[in-house]
C-alpha cells in the first residue's frame, strides 16, 4: 500500500464519518463543525487528484464563506443546545430508500463512463494546471460563454443588493 492510498483511506473514512455526524448530532453548532470536517476531506480528495486549485477554492468558498456564514446564522439563534425530540421522523425509510436508489444510479452511471477504470495519470513535472484552466475559461473553444454568463449573473446580484440596500432620500 502506498502513502497515497493510506492518505486516501484515512480521508475517506474521516469525511464519511463527519457526514454521518452532521445528520446525527443533536447540537447545531457541532453539526456545522462536522460539516466543515467533511468539506475539508473533500478538499484533500481534490489534492490527491492533483487539482491544487480546486483544493484551495474548496477551502476558501465552502469553509471560509459558506460554513462560516452558517455558523454565524446559527449563533444568532437561541437555544441551539437543547433541541428536544427525535431527529428522525416517520418518513425516514422512504428517504433512505430514495438515497439508496440515487446512490446506486450514480454508481451505475459512473461505471459506464470509461474514466472510471483508469488509474490517476502521472502529470509532467512542469504541468501548470491553473494556466490550462485559465486559458480554457476564456478561449472560444473552451468555456467562455458559461464563464461570461456566470459573471453577468454575479454582477446582477451585486447591483441588486446595492439597489436593495440603497437608502432613498425622500
Amino acid at each position: 500500500m502506498t502513502v497515497m492510498q493510506v492518505v486516501f483511506l484515512v480521508t475517506a473514512v474521516v469525511s464519511l464519518g463527519g457526514a454521518v455526524m452532521v445528520v446525527t448530532t443533536r447540537n447545531l453548532i457541532h453539526a456545522a463543525l462536522w460539516l466543515i470536517l467533511t468539506l475539508f476531506g473533500v478538499a484533500v480528495m481534490y489534492g490527491l487528484l492533483s487539482a491544487p486549485f480546486f483544493t484551495v477554492i474548496q477551502v476558501v468558498i465552502y469553509i471560509g464563506a459558506i460554513a462560516i456564514l452558517m455558523i454565524f446564522a446559527i449563533m444568532l439563534t437561541r437555544r441551539v443546545k437543547q433541541e428536544p425530540g427525535s431527529s428522525v421522523n416517520k418518513g425516514w425509510w422512504l428517504a433512505g430508500l430514495m438515497a439508496l436508489v440515487l446512490f446506486t444510479a450514480l454508481v451505475w452511471m459512473l461505471s459506464t463512463w470509461p474514466g472510471f477504470q483508469t488509474t490517476l495519470p502521472e502529470l509532467p513535472q512542469d504541468f501548470d494546471s491553473i494556466k490550462v484552466l485559465g486559458a480554457a475559461l476564456v478561449s472560444t473553444e473552451g468555456y467562455v460563454i458559461p464563464f461570461e454568463i456566470a459573471s453577468v449573473l454575479l454582477l446582477a446580484a451585486l447591483i441588486g443588493s446595492v439597489a436593495v440596500a440603497w437608502e432613498r432620500k425622500s
Binding site: 447540537n27 469553509i63 449563533m75
Partner: protein, 403 residues
C-alpha cells in the same frame, strides 16, 4: 557551502536509503523533519517577539519596558511562559469542552501553516505550490473559524460579541486583501510564491506601491490589531473572544496573534519587497533567510508603529472605510494595472516601472482630491445646528411615578 539545506536533505536521503527504506517513506520522513524544524524555529522566534513587542510599545509610550530579567529584560518572555504554564486552567461553566480546547490550537496552527509557502531562500521553501496566494487566503479563513469556535464555546456574551465582530471584520477585509494580492499575481503571471519572488526586478513596491498599502491596511484589519481591534476592544467587551481563556490556552492565542503579525509581515515582504532577494544571495543562499527576516521585521515594525499611534475606530467607521473606500480603490487599481500591463507588453523595464509608478501616484492624488471634497461636505454636515437631545417631560414624570 552552496546550498546547505538541500545538501543535508540529500545526505539524509542516502543514509535512509542505505537502511533499506522505500522511496515514499523517505520522502514522508524528510517532509516531517522539515516541518518540525521550521515550526520549532518559528515558535522560538515567537518567544522573542513577546520581548520585541513589549520593548517597542514601551518606547512608543516613553517607558522602559521589561528591564529586570536578564540584560535589557531579554529573559522576560521565558518568565512569562513559565507563569502561563503554571497558572490554573479554568473551564467556564456551560462551556463546550471539546470546542473550547480545540479553538486555541486552531488559532496557532493556522498561523504556522502559512509558513509552508514562504520562500526562505532561492532553493528553500516548504511547498512551492502554484496556488500559494490563494492558499494564504484559505488558511486565513480557517483562522477565523478558530476565533468563532473560541467565542461560541466560552458560553460568554462578551466572547460571542467579540467573535461576531471578528467575523464581520474578516469577511469584509478579505475582499480588498484578495484584490490587492491579485495585482502582484497579475504582474508575475503566477500564484506561486517562488515565481513571484523571482519575477521581482525591481521589487513590486516600486511598481505598484498603492497595492502594497492596500494589502498592508487590510492585513492589519485581518490581524485584528489597533486601529481595527474592535474584536477585543477592552473598553467595550473586556477581552473579546479569549475572555474566558486562562494559562497556556490564553498563551496560545497570544503567541498566535504575535506570530500572525510576523507571518503577515513575511508574506508582505515576500510579495512586495522581494522576499529573499538581496546582494550576494546567489553566491551564498544562506543570506536569503537573513534578508527575508530583515524585511519582515521592517514591516512588523510598521505594523507596531500603526498599532501604538492610532486610536481604535468604531465598527461602522471600520466597515464604511472598507466597503466605501478600500474595495473600490483596490478594484480601480486592479483595472488600471491590468490595462497598463497589457498595453506595455513590449516596452523596456525602465519605462514600464516609471509609467506604472506614475499611474499609482496619479490614483493616489485623485483619491486625495476626492477625500478632500468628501471631508469638506462632512465638516459642513457635522457643523450644522441640530436640536439638543432632551428627554420629554412626560417620560420623566412617568419614571418618577413608578418609583
Amino acid at each position: 557551502m552552496s546550498d546547505p539545506v538541500n545538501s543535508i536533505a540529500e545526505w539524509l536521503r542516502t543514509i535512509l536509503a542505505s537502511w533499506g527504506l522505500s522511496e515514499g517513506l523517505i520522502t514522508v520522513i524528510l517532509a516531517v523533519l522539515g516541518v518540525v524544524i521550521l515550526a520549532t524555529f518559528v515558535l522560538v522566534v515567537d518567544i522573542l517577539l513577546v520581548w520585541i513587542e513589549r520593548k517597542m510599545v514601551a518606547r512608543f509610550q516613553d517607558r522602559f519596558g521589561p528591564n529586570r530579567v536578564g540584560p535589557y529584560g531579554i529573559i522576560q518572555p521565558i518568565a512569562d511562559v513559565i507563569k502561563l504554564l503554571i497558572k490554573e486552567d479554568i473551564m467556564p461553566m456551560g462551556a463546550d469542552k471539546f470546542i473550547f480546547n480545540l479553538a486555541p490550537i486552531i488559532a496557532l496552527a493556522t498561523v504556522l501553516l502559512l509558513w509552508a509557502v514562504v520562500p526562505l531562500a532561492p532553493t528553500v521553501i516548504g511547498a512551492d505550490i502554484n496556488v500559494a496566494v490563494l492558499y494564504v487566503v484559505a488558511i486565513g479563513s480557517i483562522g477565523t473559524l478558530g476565533i468563532i469556535m473560541a467565542g461560541w464555546a466560552s458560553n460568554n456574551k462578551y466572547a460571542l460579541l467579540g467573535a461576531f465582530r471578528t467575523v464581520a471584520t474578516m469577511i469584509a477585509y478579505e475582499v480588498p486583501m484578495i484584490i490587492a494580492l491579485l495585482i502582484p499575481v497579475l504582474l508575475a503571471r503566477s500564484m506561486g510564491m517562488q515565481t513571484i519572488v523571482n519575477a521581482q526586478s525591481p521589487w513590486y513596491i516600486f511598481i505598484v506601491p498603492l497595492a502594497a498599502v492596500i494589502l498592508f491596511v487590510s492585513s492589519i484589519a485581518e490581524l485584528g490589531r489597533t486601529p481595527f481591534d474592535i474584536s477585543e476592544a477592552e473598553s467595550e467587551i473586556v477581552a473579546g473572544f479569549h475572555i474566558e481563556y486562562t494559562g497556556m490556552k490564553f498563551g496560545l492565542f497570544y503567541a498566535g496573534e504575535l506570530l500572525h503579525a510576523l507571518t503577515v509581515s513575511a508574506l508582505i515582504a515576500t510579495i512586495f519587497l522581494g522576499g529573499w532577494r538581496g546582494p550576494y544571495v546567489d553566491q551564498l543562499p544562506l543570506l536569503g533567510p537573513v534578508y527575508l527576516f530583515i524585511k519582515a521585521f521592517l514591516v512588523y515594525y510598521l505594523i507596531m508603529w500603526v498599532r501604538y499611534s492610532f486610536p481604535r475606530v468604531r465598527i461602522d467607521q471600520m466597515l464604511g472605510f472598507n466597503w466605501k473606500f478600500l474595495t473600490p480603490l483596490a478594484l480601480f487599481l486592479l483595472i488600471v494595472v491590468a490595462i497598463l500591463d497589457k498595453a506595455m507588453a513590449d516596452v523596456n523595464t525602465v519605462w514600464y516601472v516609471l509609467v506604472m509608478l506614475g499611474a499609482n501616484l496619479l490614483i493616489v492624488w485623485g483619491t486625495m482630491m476626492i477625500l478632500r471634497r468628501y471631508a469638506r461636505i462632512e465638516r459642513v454636515r457635522i457643523a450644522e445646528e441640530r436640536p439638543v437631545a432632551r428627554a420629554p417631560e412626560s417620560d420623566n414624570n412617568e419614571l418618577v411615578g413608578q418609583e
